[in-house]
Symmetry: C2
Subunit: 285 residues, 2 copies
């Protein structure tokens, strides 16, 4: 299924939104792309790089007449955007988002949006520590995985179009319920981010000569270079699952501590061995 | 200073020992390289790849007549090797090791070895998750950093020769006291390893579809693929500094937990921001 949209409105023209605009245009999936944002400078930049054709500071004005709206703001803001859009757009309009958490957003849409539901949540697993429209790339989604919400109340045709959209820009779609999405991402993405930040904070206390810092530290903490407000929002919108993950992480660190305190060589080796095997299973390698 | 050794004995012909042998031969820094190990199969493999010229299962026999001995066993085993060698080798022989912890090893050598001290501890920060002589590479140390022990009791000429050795195989030498070495490595290397293993263990509990696991998890946990017995030894020989680091890490995770429990947006953002800045400072970027 190949979908061509007439008028796509992208709310938030940062790395993800800007790259979506570029990719839609490059693949001929959109006739006209409208960019909506809070800062005219970002919108101008997105227009300059060719990600959007037209700019709007007002969400309702910009979204009017769109057949697809992609909310590409941080997670915490998506619900607010849905509330702003709800009475302003045609019920036929298909809406998606790109936030890294899904349960609270999809539950809110299901509870407040007209039925049959044409909001279908997405989580394209692309991006990097870079952000802003200046880093937008037409191939950002090429070869990536995009998680798309399963919801029995969703309009099947709209859902197919969202799947076609992501496949059209090069992503492989994996279907998942919002609750399962958040439970898994809490432990494979959000918890690693928290751990990376905590490891960096523990390291700075010894004020190391950076010549003595190896590639292991660089990799382990790479994701800590992400934008603080983005990760704040992700954590707050996936609070309960992340708290459960943190509890587990603390317990395992306590097991390491206890083994070390007792110089318990066998337990220590087993913990590292189990960690190694767990990693391989999680990665499917 | 360019040093050429007549007879180098390498105890432990794994990735680090095997690569040292290959590099010494490639750079013409050793006339004859003896490999000493516990398993004949590993020794044969090291000889087959050209890392060593001769094999010995007996440490004292193999080390006899060497002008340089490099102990390339796991950290926990170095002290035992020093004790085995002490009465068997000429006091003129220069000895080094490649273990990832230095305080306990260097203290033991200082306390038990003849003076002026010709044992100079080294920690080449090279290697990977791969191990064994089959992965040995002549260029493993090229462009890496090698930390070399500072010790006022060390024989200056021997120390210069150890520095020349590492520079000769392409490493940049950084001088550091064993205590400072261990305090810094506890937090920039050993603690990240423990955290990576703990993150992997927390992730496997949600039994994720590996298609849903992004590159952030892969990088954050990469070091958890290291060999369990190697990391067990490193942790046990740097117990106190690592326990202090674990205490700090647990406290920071507790701060994250508390901020999440109270949905304290400002504190959460500040923690991520501080983590980001800490990482950049540690890496000197």
């Amino acid at each position: 299924m190949k979908t061509r949209f007439q008028r796509v409105a992208i709310i938030g023209v940062g790395l993800l939104g800007g790259s979506l605009g570029l990719a839609l245009k490059q693949h001929g999936l959109a006739a006209h792309v409208v960019g909506i944002g809070r800062r005219q400078a970002s919108l101008n930049m997105a227009k300059d790089v060719g990600a959007i054709d037209e700019t709007f500071l007002d969400v309702r004005q910009g979204a009017a007449g769109a057949d697809l709206i992609a909310i590409c703001t941080p997670a915490q803001d998506v619900i607010h955007q849905l509330d702003t859009l709800r009475d302003a757009v045609d019920p036929e309009t298909i809406v998606t988002d790109v936030a890294s958490t899904k349960a609270s957003i999809c539950a809110h849409a299901t509870a407040t949006w007209p039925q049959p539901l044409r909001f279908i949540g997405s989580h394209p697993m692309a991006g990097s520590e870079k952000f802003g429209p200046a880093h937008a790339r037409a191939d950002l989604y090429e070869g990536s995985v995009c998680l798309v919400e399963t919801n029995e109340l969703a309009d099947p045709v709209s859902r197919d179009q969202i799947v076609a959209l992501w496949e059209g820009v090069g992503a492989r779609v994996v279907n998942v319920s919002p609750e399962e999405h958040d439970a898994i991402l809490a432990r494979t993405s959000h918890l690693p981010h928290v751990a990376a930040a905590a490891v960096a904070l523990a390291a700075i206390r010894c004020a190391p000569d950076s010549a003595m810092v190896g590639p292991g530290f660089r990799d382990t903490t790479r994701v800590a270079d992400g934008r603080a407000e983005l990760w704040r929002d992700i954590c707050l919108t996936n609070r309960d699952a992340l708290l459960e993950g943190l509890e587990d992480l603390q317990q395992t660190l306590h097991d390491f501590q206890s083994a070390l305190e007792h110089s318990d060589s066998a337990t220590l080796e087993q913990l590292f061995q189990d960690g190694r095997e767990a990693r391989r299973k999680v990665l499917g390698s």
